[in-house]
Symmetry: C2
Subunit: 486 residues, 2 copies
C-alpha cells in the first residue's frame, strides 16, 4: 500500500485534517509538517525500523511527530505520560528503544530517566524546532505486517507488556469501524482521549485513512467538548462512562445538535441507568468493546440495535470474530465465559514475550481474560474483567454491575467496588463512594437492597474524595485495595 499520509495529502490536499485550539491544518499542511519533522529526526539519526520511545501530551505537534515516525517507518513505543519515571524507564528498557522523543513539560521525568539511562538520546520537541532538516528518506510503500506502534497495557498484575500493533492492525481497525458506523463526507471526530492510548491514536489513524477532520483536545473538558461539538459540527466522539456522565449532567435540558451521530462508548461495561439517560436525551450511544490488543473497538453495537439491545457491546466488526469459552469448550447462548477474539485488527503478540504469546494466542485466537456472554441473537454482553471478578460463597459478582447501581443514586457521583477477603464467604464486595450530596451508609444500603440480590450488596462502604482511575478512566482497583489495607 502507498504511504498513508502522503497518499492522503495527494487525494484530498485541501480538506481540513486537524483542529487544535482554534488552529486548523489541512492534509497537505499536515504532510508538510510531518515531512519536515521526519527530516529533523533523520538529522538526529532516527532510522527506519528502529524502536523509538515517545512521551508527549495531546497537541498538534504530537500528532505531527507520530506521523513523521510513520513516514520514516520508525516503530513508535508510545508511552503513557501519567506514569512515574520508574515505570517509564522500565518500558523504555523492555522495548529496547534507542531514542526518546518528548517535550519540556516532562522535564522532571526526563531528568530522572536520563539519570538511569545515561546513554539514551533524548530529544525534546522544543529543541527539534531548531534542528536542521536532512533528507528525509520516507517510505513510499507500507507493508501491512510491519510494526507501527507499541503500547504497554496497564496490566492488573505483574509488569506491563508491550502490545505490538502493525500497520495492518490499524488499517483493519479503521475500515472495520467504517463498515459499521458508516462514513460521511462531513464526518468530524472529537478526540479528547490521549493519543498515547489506542482510543486516541486510532482516531488519528482514521483521520488519515478516511480523509476526515478531527478536533484534538489536550484533555477532556466538558465545557470545551460541548462548545466544539456545536462550533465544529462534530459528528462522532469517543467517550467512557465517566465522561459521558459529565456530558449528560452538563447538558441538563439541552440536546446535542442533530448532526451529531455517534457517541462511541468504550472503556468497560456501562451501567443501564446511564444508557437509559442517553436514550431519554436522544444521544446516539454505540457501546463498544475493545482493548489495546485489538487496536481499539472489535465489537460494536450497530445503529439499528442500539435501543433493542441496550447494555450489549454488539457484534464483532465485519473482519473480526468472537467466541465465548467455558471449561475448554464454546459456551452456549447466555452462558458466561472467557471472551476470545480473532481478526486482522488483533495484535500478532506482545513484544519479546514468547511465553505470554503462547498462552494468550491459540490458533490466532486471543484469550482476553474478560468475561461475557453472547445472547441468543449473537449480541455480546461484557460482564467484567476476570481479575476484577469477586467470588462470594460460590456466587460470581461483577463489580461493574454494582457500581452501575450505586452511581444511579442521586447523591452518588462516582463509585468503585472491589472484593475483600472474608473468612466466611471467601470474598465480599465493598464499595468506595464519592458523594455529590449528603447521604448516609444506611441510606445507601437501603437503596441497594431494593436493587441488588443480597449477596451482591456491599458489606462495607467507604466515602472518599475521588475514585482512582487511569488515563483511560478505568478504575484502578488495586489502588482501592491499598486503601483497605492501610
Amino acid at each position: 500500500m502507498p504511504n498513508w499520509l502522503k497518499k492522503r495529502a495527494l487525494l484530498t490536499p485541501n480538506r481540513q485534517a486537524i483542529i487544535y485550539k482554534g488552529e486548523t491544518i489541512t492534509f497537505t499542511q499536515l504532510y508538510q509538517a510531518a515531512y519536515e519533522m521526519a527530516g529533523k529526526l533523520t538529522s538526529k539519526g532516527v532510522k527506519n525500523k528502529q524502536f523509538t520511545a515517545v512521551l508527549l501530551q495531546n497537541h498538534l505537534d504530537s500528532a505531527v511527530i507520530l506521523l513523521a515516525l510513520q513516514l520514516l517507518g520508525v516503530r513508535a513505543v508510545i508511552l503513557n505520560n501519567r506514569l512515574t519515571a520508574d515505570e517509564l524507564i522500565w518500558q523504555i528498557r523492555d522495548s529496547n528503544s534507542v531514542f526518546l522523543l518528548s517535550e519540556e513539560r516532562f522535564l522532571e521525568k526526563l531528568s530522572n530517566i536520563s539519570d538511569s539511562l545515561p546513554d539514551l538520546p533524548i530529544f525534546k520537541k522544543e529543541e527539534l524546532a531548531e534542528t536542521p532538516i536532512e533528507g528525509p528518506l520516507i517510505i513510499d510503500e507500507i507493508e501491512l505486517d510491519d510494526i507501527c506502534t507499541i503500547m504497554y497495557t496497564s496490566g492488573t498484575t505483574g509488569y506491563p507488556k508491550g502490545v505490538i500493533q502493525t500497520y495492518g492492525n490499524h488499517w483493519w481497525s479503521a475500515t472495520g469501524s467504517a463498515l459499521n458506523l458508516g462514513l460521511h463526507e462531513n464526518d468530524c471526530w472529537l478526540c479528547t482521549v490521549p493519543l498515547f492510548h489506542i482510543s486516541g491514536y486510532s482516531i488519528l489513524m482514521k483521520s488519515i485513512i478516511y480523509g476526515m477532520k478531527i478536533v484534538l483536545h489536550e484533555r477532556f473538558d466538558v465545557n470545551e467538548t460541548l462548545n466544539d461539538i456545536r462550533k465544529e459540527q462534530v459528528t462522532i466522539m469517543s467517550v467512557v462512562s465517566t465522561t459521558l456522565t459529565m456530558i449528560l449532567d452538563y447538558l441538563q435540558e439541552e440536546r446535542l445538535p442533530k448532526s451529531f451521530r455517534c457517541m462511541l462508548l468504550g472503556g468497560g461495561p456501562a451501567s443501564l441507568p446511564l444508557l437509559e439517560r442517553c436514550v431519554k436525551k436522544d444521544i446516539p450511544v454505540f457501546q463498544t468493546y475493545g482493548m489495546t490488543e485489538t487496536s481499539s473497538q472489535i465489537v460494536t453495537l450497530s445503529p439499528e440495535d442500539s435501543f433493542r439491545k441496550l447494555g450489549s457491546a454488539g457484534k464483532p466488526l465485519f473482519p473480526s470474530q468472537l467466541k465465548i469459552m467455558q471449561d475448554g469448550r464454546e459456551a452456549m447462548a447466555n452462558e458466561p465465559g472467557e471472551i476470545v477474539v480473532k481478526g486482522p485488527n488483533v495484535t500478532p503478540g506482545y513484544l519479546n514475550r514468547e511465553k505470554d504469546n503462547r498462552k494468550d494466542f491459540q490458533d490466532g485466537w486471543l484469550h482476553t481474560g474478560d468475561i461475557g456472554y453472547v445472547d441468543e441473537d449473537d449480541f455480546l454482553f461484557v460482564l467484567d474483567r476476570r481479575s476484577d471478578l469477586i467470588i462470594s460463597g460460590g456466587e460470581n459478582i461483577y463489580p461493574a454491575e454494582i457500581e452501575g447501581v450505586l452511581t444511579s443514586h442521586s447523591a452518588i457521583k462516582d463509585a468503585g467496588v472491589i472484593g475483600r477477603q472474608d473468612d466466611k464467604w471467601g470474598e465480599i464486595p465493598v464499595a468506595f463512594l464519592v458523594k455529590k450530596a449528603p447521604v448516609s451508609e444506611t441510606d445507601i444500603m437501603d437503596f441497594c437492597k431494593e436493587k441488588l440480590a443480597k449477596y451482591k450488596i456491599p458489606k462495607k462502604i467507604y466515602f472518599i474524595d475521588e475514585i482512582p482511575r487511569n488515563a483511560s478512566k478505568k478504575i484502578l482497583r488495586r489502588e482501592l485495595r491499598k486503601l483497605i489495607n492501610e
Copy 2:
C-alpha cells in the same frame, strides 16, 4: 476473515439485501437461500477450490448461486451470456472448469456446449430447485489470497484471457471505494449492469461487505431505472455513457431526487458535452477508470473535484497507485503515456498464462495498455483505452478477436476491424475485408452470428483491396479510420 455472507447475516440479519422485481430479500434470507443452494451443489458433487463455470442472466437466483459458490469456496468462472457457444466452449476449456451452472433460457447454447464437451456436467438452476440438499460444508474463514472468480477479457492476441480475482481483490475494491464515496446507512445501489461483468459482480460484493441494499435489474431499462430510483430511494448507480445519455434524455426537465448521491460512470472516457449536461441537471457524476483486472474502479474522481476537474477520472483510490510510463521512464505532468497501476485490488495475473503475466506485470505494476496523462494536480485523464479497444455500450470489443473470426472464413483473405463513432452505443465495430473468393456482406454476417456475440458483430462491412499494414505487418488502424471519413 470470517465467511462474508455468513458474517453479514449475523451482523445485520433483518436489513434488506436485494430487491428484484418487487421481491425483497433480507441478509438472513439471502444467506439461507445461498446455504440451501450450496447444499444442492454439494449433492451434485461441486467442491471447494474447483473451477466451475457459470452462465446466468441477472436474477435473484443468480446472485444466490454466485454467493453459494463463495460459501463453498468454489472458484466461479463467470461467463458472459452474450457470447456464442463456440466462445463459451473456449473459455470453459481454457479454465478447465469441471461443471457448468446455467439455466433453461440458454438451452440452445447449452446444447451446443454439450455436443462439444460431452463429459461436462451441466446443471440448470431449474433442475437444482428439485435437487436434495446435502451438507453443505461451507468455509468458516476466507483466505484473502484464494481465487474467488475468473472473468475473461481479450488481449491483442485475439484469444481471451481469464483474469484471476481473489477474495482480497474484491475486498480491497469494496473498501477502497467506500473510503472515497463514503458509506451511508441508507445507501442503496442500483445494479442494471450484468453480474457477469466486474461492474455488476462488484455491486453484489459491496452489498455483502457494506450491509447495503441493492436493486437488481435483469437489464438496463430507462423507465424502470427512473421508477426504482424514486421508489426504492436509490442513492448510487453504476452507468456507462450510453445508459447515462438515455437517463438524461428521459429526464427532460425533471430532476433526480435529492437522496440520489452518486452516478458512478465507467466504461471508457466520457464526452465533455455529456458531463456538462449532467452538471446542468445537478446529477452527481463520479467519473471512474477501472477494468476487470482491477476488480472494478481503481481511479475515481472525489466529490469535491467533480466540477473543477470535469473529464478527469480522478485519483487512484486510497489503497492503489498509478503512474504514467513513456519510453521506459515515468512521464512528466501532462505528458501522455501508458497507464500503469498497482494495488491490492489488482489481479495477481491471468489464469494459466505465465508468459502474459511476465509481460503485463512488472514488480507488481500492471501495464494496462491504456493511454492517459496525469495533470499538475495529480488527476488522471484517460485519453484512449488501448489504442485498438472498441467500447460499445459498456462492453469491451477487441478487434483482433473479430479479425480472427473473419479470416477463418474461406472467402476472406485479410481483415481489419475498427470502432466507428455512434450516437447510441458510443462506438460500434466495422470491418474492412479483402476477398479471395466471391462472398456477400450477408454471407459474412451470417457467418459471424454463429461465432460472435451479437455486440461484437461488425455493423458495416467494407470490401477493399488491401489492409494497410506497417513493416512489421501490424494493421494501421488510423489508415482504416481515414477510409470511413473520406
